[in-house]
């Protein structure tokens, strides 16, 4: 490792992938599945509203109930995922129950909400500000979990400071660029896996569309089978999305520890070890 530029991108990806593969079973049932099921519940409520609202107006309340539940569990669950990723990257044994508890803390979900709000507002203004905020605040949750003195806006500031730490200079060593590439690779993998998971739905839609065209229909409506097929598809795609979020969080956590290590001179240990090795040789 070059001690000014830190881990290479390849090393960051390899470390994140290795942790993901080794530890995937731990959060799969306890964090990823609940997140996916809540998303499925929301999808089911939406389908029910679309297909049966005329006969049962009370369904709109069910839909809003599901929406609020999905929002709350989503925020806490994504905080729990970030906590687990930080713990794994730090080499700690992290129990899912501890991660859920960490996600429930105001300092975690408050920071996540603040971050989401800032990124959301930035996205409204032609995307670029939101993308930039997303990159510089990506380490806010690792900061919250690892440096207890920071939370909320202070965690966002600390993440911003860490994201600009680049003593070696150059775009390739810039943490913002590294996080951007982690984001792109994670997003691409998410699209690939989601595309495969959606294949049954795509085939069903294509078959129904072909039938409608052959019949000369122009209502553009799909059968209830296709509409309800969206529910399991939504559960599977949400599971994939959450799993890929964990992978992205692991990559970000590896970058975070790499920066902190170099900023706080832990990298000197490796320089001293190298010096000792040279003297002993």
């Amino acid at each position: 490792m070059n001690i000014t530029s830190g881990l290479t991108l390849g090393q960051i990806f390899n470390r994140a992938m290795e942790l993901f593969r080794r530890e995937f079973a731990r959060p799969a049932l306890s964090i990823l599945l609940p997140l996916a099921l809540v998303s499925g519940l929301l999808s089911a409520a939406m389908t029910a509203v679309q297909t049966q609202l005329a006969t049962n107006p009370g369904l709109i309340l069910v839909f809003f109930g599901a929406l609020i539940l999905a929002g709350v569990i989503g925020v806490v669950g994504y905080g729990a995922l970030a906590h687990m990723a930080v713990g794994l990257a730090a080499g700690r044994e992290t129990a899912p129950a501890d991660s859920w508890r960490a996600g429930l803390r105001f300092r975690a979900w408050g920071t996540l909400m603040l971050q989401g709000l800032g990124v959301g507002v930035g996205l409204i203004f032609c995307l670029l500000p939101g993308m930039y905020f997303g990159l510089v605040w990506a380490m806010a949750l690792p900061v919250v979990f690892e440096e207890p003195t920071f939370a909320h806006s202070a965690a966002l500031s600390r993440s911003h400071e860490l994201s600009r730490f680049n003593p070696a200079g150059g775009l390739g060593n810039d943490p913002r660029f590294r996080i951007f590439l982690i984001f792109v690779v994670t997003l691409a993998t998410t699209y690939l896996l989601m595309g495969l998971a959606q294949l049954p739905l795509i085939v069903a839609v294509a078959v129904e569309t072909a039938r409608s065209i052959a019949d000369g229909r122009r209502d553009g409506q799909f059968s209830s089978f296709v509409q309800w097929l969206q529910v399991p598809t939504s559960i599977v795609t949400s599971f994939i999305q959450a799993a890929m979020t964990l992978l992205g969080n692991l990559g970000t956590a590896v970058v975070y520890f790499d920066i902190r290590g170099r900023q706080e001179a832990k990298d000197l240990d490796s320089a001293i070890d190298a010096l000792d090795a040279g003297r002993n040789a």
Binding site: G170, V184, L187, G195, L268
Partner: protein
């Protein structure tokens, strides 16, 4: 006095002059790197090892002391100076767009050309099929859009009336990027995903044009897409071409191992993808603000579309040094 404290004072006194001199030379070198002579640099490098040794000693014998922290700061500062990369070797934005991106584009140009041919064939097929069987367009656009067309109104007009331009610009850029990334990553499935995205988008475009032609509104559609369409479609074909190149490397690695061939193609494809993503932001602004605008003349929109496409092609296929091309 305590023996440890005596040791601390002795260590500090015996080395103080060296540390101060090193700190001073380091400060000068950082302030004006050009003034550093070869001898000065060599002396700094040798003394840097002594600083590391002192730091290791201070950390082991006097943990948490002010002396340890001072030596740590000195060592970090010297590390950052002495281990800096050669600026010529450094990966910079300039080097990326001047050399790496054009090299990746050239390497995968045949795959992009194949995607373009498939796209045109798909448009032609969908246009013919939708002209013969109009319900294809109805199914794709939906009954509401068809009702709008019957009233002589494009479906795009209602969207631009309801959503503010800055918001629609973000949504458009996000959607286009997701299509491009899907086309790119689809190459991992031996190129099938990339081909699917190309054929699907060609089919949709052909069917939509056939439908608007049926209602006598193809001119309005051409006017709407004039500013952003040429570059947008080019970027999607470019990303699909990079994906197809990855798939090709997986299928036919030639004299290399499959892993090595796919790895090299994936690195070039990643460069290509990262190089086209910023253009989607520009397109989002154009599609959100210029394309739906009724105050901008159609000729201006078409000229803007041509200028954007020409700018992209100039950046993407600019001449590059022989070393980068290989």
């Amino acid at each position: 006095m305590h023996e440890g404290a005596q040791g601390y004072i002795h260590f500090a006194k015996s080395r103080e002059a060296f540390w101060s001199s090193f700190a001073e030379r380091l400060r000068s070198a950082r302030a004006a790197p050009g003034s550093l002579t070869f001898d000065g640099l060599e002396a700094l490098a040798v003394d840097y090892r002594r600083i590391l040794q002192d730091h290791a000693l201070a950390r082991a014998r006097f943990p948490g002391s002010a002396l340890g922290r001072r030596l740590e700061a000195l060592a970090v500062e010297a590390t950052h100076l002495l281990f800096a990369e050669d600026p010529k070797e450094r990966f910079s934005l300039r080097r990326f767009f001047a050399d790496l991106f054009p090299a990746a584009m050239r390497a995968h140009a045949p795959h992009m050309a194949l995607c373009a041919v498939l796209f045109v064939c798909s448009i032609a097929m969908a246009f013919s099929a939708s002209t013969i069987q109009p319900s294809i367009g109805t199914q794709i656009l939906g009954p509401e859009a068809i009702t709008n067309l019957e009233r002589g109104e494009l479906w795009t007009e209602s969207i631009s009336r309801v959503v503010p331009a800055s918001v629609s610009s973000s949504a458009i850029a996000t959607n286009n990027m997701s299509v491009a990334i899907t086309a790119w990553v689809g190459g991992v499935l031996f190129g099938l995903g990339s081909i699917f995205v190309v054929l699907n988008n060609g089919f949709l475009l052909g069917a939509v044009f056939a439908t608007t032609t049926r209602f006598g509104m193809s001119g309005d559609l051409f006017e709407f897409i004039g500013a952003h369409g040429p570059l947008e479609l080019t970027l999607i074909l470019v990303s699909a071409g990079h994906g197809l190149a990855m798939g090709h490397a997986l299928l036919a690695p030639h004299d290399r191992s499959r892993q090595a061939a796919a790895g090299a193609a994936a690195r070039r494809a990643m460069t290509g993808l990262v190089g086209i993503l910023p253009w989607f932001l520009v397109l989002g602004v154009v599609e959100g603000f210029v394309s739906p605008s009724e105050t901008v003349d159609p000729e201006v929109k078409v000229a803007l579309g041509a200028a954007l496409l020409a700018s992209f092609l100039l950046v993407a296929f600019r001449p590059i040094a022989r070393g980068e091309a290989s």
